[in-house]
Symmetry: C2
Subunit: 111 residues, 2 copies
Amino acid sequence: MKRKAASLDAVLAALADPHRRRVVEVLRSGPQNAGELSALVGLSPPAMSRHLRLLRGCGLVSEAHPEFDARVRVYSLRPQPLGELKAWLETTERLWADQLASFKKHLERGR
Amino acid sequence: MKRKAASLDAVLAALADPHRRRVVEVLRSGPQNAGELSALVGLSPPAMSRHLRLLRGCGLVSEAHPEFDARVRVYSLRPQPLGELKAWLETTERLWADQLASFKKHLERGR
DNA sequence: CATATGATTTCAATTTTTGTTAAATATTGT
DNA sequence: ACAATATTTAACAAAAATTGAAATCATATG
């Protein structure tokens, strides 16, 4: 089963929705099945399922069947896409700091 | 001039668009005026203006008039919202790691 | 087998987003 | 005053995302 390349675009769009971000917040303390998620987040099962599909699509969560009941689907958080987003953020912050530093130097020279 | 509370929602939605993220990437190496941004990103001035309005709205960029020509508007990156996003990310990654650790411990105990 | 359960899919209606063209605003140079 | 420049706003159409309700799937259980 091939996993789609987690594009920043898709990841950010996924996280931009409060319900979906709530799902991530729940999942970060441990895996949960779809029903629990729908109850915890306060969405109808169909609505939750669609959000989960989206989250799965961008690689933020993965799905598994538990051995004792193959009807339920257990969702877990996948750290990779969050790592990529964090990397982008850190690059941005670093470059911004560099820019500030050279501007400061520029001021000092021109004094 | 009051600044709207930079909600994660708005910030993430803003960054989810490739054009807007490109703007941020350009601005992280230094301020630019609207015209340059529109050229660099490859959007018509009206389109760029609307993206800039959105970025301003969620606090990701700030606007200023240069003294020598009050027609142009110079945009700069504001680090605060990115910082908040990074904080959320770090919390998420930390909790996820904690969860993993306690699961590992659980396995060891049950062996 | 019949029925109940956990979850997903489909579909149509609605809303949101995005780009374009045309017009407006503000400012500068002649 | 007039024309040119930098940018924004408004109005509109096209494209994309979201949502609730009903239908469907797959698995479990009596």
